[in-house]
C-alpha cells in the first residue's frame, strides 16, 4: 500500500485543487481528506455518502448541581480556567483532562464522552473516499486524522486498491503530524511568496525532524519567478526533491465552481499539462515502485 500525502504549511496554496487533479489521473486509489477542520475536497468530488459514523474523541466535565457543595476544589485544580464562579464548566475551555472529576470530594462531576465530529465513507467518480468533519471548536483533530487515515488503509486493503491520496491540513501542528506518519511520500505544494517560502521551510523542517522524505512543487510559479527559483534552491539544499512548476491559471477556480477537476474542465490548459508531468514524476519515484513483495511486507 502506498500513500501520497499533500501538504503545504501555508494555507491556500492549492493543496486541494492539486489533490483533486491527481484524483483524475490516478488508478486504483482511495481518497482521504485529512484537513478535518476545513475539508474542501468533497466540494469538487461530490461524494455519494455511504456510511456516516460519529467521532467520539474525548470527554467533557459537567458539574451535577444537586451534589455540588461549591467547595471550590475544581476551580483550584483546573489549569484551563474552565470552571466558572457559578460552578459551571465552560465546554469550550474544558480540556477533557478529568482532573476535577477525579478530585471532586463529592463526586459531583460527570464525565460523559463527547461526539467531536463525524466521519464518512463515500463513493466518488474516481474511487472510494474517507473524509470527516470535526465539530466546531473541538479538540482532538489529530486523533480524527489518524482515524480516517487508518480507515482509508482498511478500505484500500478490502478493495484491493494500492494507492491512497491524502489531502493534508495546513500548518505544522498536531493534525499535520498525524497526517504524515508512515506515509510513502509527502508532496509539499508551495507558492512563490515570502510567506509561502517561510511556511514551506517550516513544514520541511518538520518532515526532516520525523525523517520523512519530502518533495515539492511550486504552484502559481509565474506570479514571482524569482521566488520560485529561491524555493527550488532552498529545496535542493534541504534535500527536498523538486517535482515541477504549475502556472497561475484561473481554470483552477473556474473548474472548482463547476465542481470539476482541472482535467475534467479543460484537458489541455497550461496548468493541466504541468500537473500531469508532476504526477508522472510521482509515479516514477522509487518509493512508489517498490517490488510487490515489499509492498506486501508493508501491509
Amino acid at each position: 500500500m502506498r500513500e501520497l500525502v499533500i501538504l503545504s504549511g501555508k494555507g491556500g496554496t492549492g493543496k486541494t485543487s492539486i489533490t483533486a487533479a491527481f484524483a483524475s489521473l490516478a488508478q486504483n486509489m482511495v481518497l482521504c481528506d485529512a484537513d478535518v477542520d476545513a475539508a474542501d475536497l468533497h466540494l469538487i468530488l461530490r461524494p455519494d455518502f455511504k456510511k456516516t459514523m460519529e467521532f467520539k474523541g474525548g470527554h467533557e466535565a459537567v458539574i451535577k448541581k444537586a451534589l455540588c457543595t461549591q467547595c471550590g476544589r475544581c476551580i483550584e485544580v483546573c489549569r484551563f480556567e474552565a470552571v466558572r464562579d457559578t460552578f459551571e464548566i465552560d465546554p469550550i475551555d474544558c480540556e477533557g483532562c478529568g482532573v476535577c472529576v477525579d478530585l471532586c470530594p463529592e463526586k459531583a462531576i460527570d464525565f460523559p464522552e463527547t461526539v467531536c465530529g463525524e466521519w464518512y465513507i463515500s463513493d466518488t467518480r474516481f474511487g472510494p473516499m474517507v473524509h470527516a468533519r470535526l465539530g466546531i471548536a473541538q479538540e482532538n483533530s489529530g486523533k480524527l486524522v489518524s482515524l480516517i487515515r487508518d480507515e482509508a488503509k482498511k478500505l484500500a486493503a478490502k478493495n484491493n486498491l494500492d494507492l491512497i491520496l491524502t489531502d493534508g491540513p495546513p500548518g505544522i501542528g498536531c493534525p499535520v503530524i498525524a497526517s504524515i506518519g508512515q506515509a510513502t511520500a509527502i508532496l509539499i505544494v508551495a507558492e512563490p511568496t515570502v510567506s509561502g517560502i517561510h511556511d514551506m521551510e517550516r513544514v520541511g523542517q518538520l518532515l526532516k525532524h520525523f525523517n520523512i522524505p519530502a518533495m515539492v512543487c511550486i504552484n502559481k510559479y509565474d506570479l514571482n519567478p524569482e521566488q520560485t527559483q529561491k524555493i527550488e534552491d532552498l529545496a535542493q539544499k534541504a534535500n527536498i526533491t523538486v517535482l515541477g512548476r504549475v502556472s497561475f491559471d484561473q481554470t483552477f477556480t473556474e473548474a472548482m465552481i463547476q465542481a470539476k477537476t482541472i482535467f475534467e474542465y479543460s484537458h489541455d490548459s497550461q496548468a493541466s499539462r504541468e500537473v500531469r508531468q508532476i504526477w508522472d514524476k510521482v509515479l516514477s519515484l522509487p518509493a512508489f515502485n517498490a517490488p510487490v513483495t515489499q509492498i506486501l511486507k508493508h501491509l
Binding site: G58, V194, G196
Partner: protein, 284 residues
Amino acid sequence: MIISIASGKGGTGKTTVSTNLALSIGSGVQLFDCDVEEPNVHLFLHPALHKKEPVNAPVPRIDLEKCTFCKKCMNICRFGALAVLKKNVLVFDNLCHSCGGCLEICPEAAVTEKDRSIGDIEHGTVNGISFIHGRLSIGHVMVPPIIKKVRSYTDPNLITIIDSPPGTSCPVIAAMKKADFVLLVTEPTPFGLHDLKLAVETVNILKIPCGLAINRVGIGNDEVNRYAKKENIPVLMEIPFDKRIAQIYSRGEMIIDNMPEYKEKFLDLFKKIVQIVEKKEGRK
C-alpha cells in the same frame, strides 16, 4: 478594543488585511501574530525585535525513590502520557497536556514538574506599532499556550489586532476568544464560502460580532455576497482580484505602500469596525 482577523480557509488574506490595517491606523496599535504554526506577519513588517521569551509547558518527572508504583498517576492521565511499570515510570512528554493531575493525585509527593520548551514569543516595534508573535517549535503540538502567552500582553488602552490561524478548532478559539470583533477574510470561491460558513459558526459559538472582508473579488462567483446578505453579515471591505496585489504580496511588500489609495480603504474598514463595536450592532 480587540479585533481578531480570522478565516476558516487558509490563504484568503488574513495576514494581508491585518498588516495593512495595523499600519494604516499606525500608533496606538498592537499587532499580535497568533498563527504560531506558520507566523508570517514579520515577513511583511520587518519589525525591530528586541526581546525573545521561551514558552514552556510543565511536564511531570517522577522521583523513583518516593514512588510506590501505585499507578494513580497513570490512571488519572487521560492522555496516556504516563506508563507505570513494575519498577519504573515512563513519561511521554509529547502526549502530556500539562493538566497537573498526576501531581495532584500522587499520595507520595513523588511527582514534580519540569518546564519543557514548546515554542517562543518575540517582541518588536515597527512604525509606532508594538508587535508580538509566537512560534511553535518544530515537532511540538501545544499551540494554545503559545497564543495565550502572546495575548497576555494585551494592553486595554490600545487597539489589539490579532492575526489568527486558519481552521475552526482549538488554536482558532484561543485566538478569537474575548475579542470585541472578528473580521472574517474570505474569497468568492466555493472553497472560500464553505470554510466561511464554518468560521461563522465558530464566531457564533463565541458570541462575538463579525463582519467580512472579501478578497480577490472577481475571481469566482457572487455566492459569498449572497450568503452574507442572507445571514445579515456586513461586508466591510472588498479587495478586487488584481495580479499586481498578488505580486506585491509575493515580494513581502505592503499594499498601502505600493497603492497608497488603499490606506483610506483600510482606515474606512477600521471606522466601520469601531462603529459596530461601539453600537453593539452587527451580527452576534
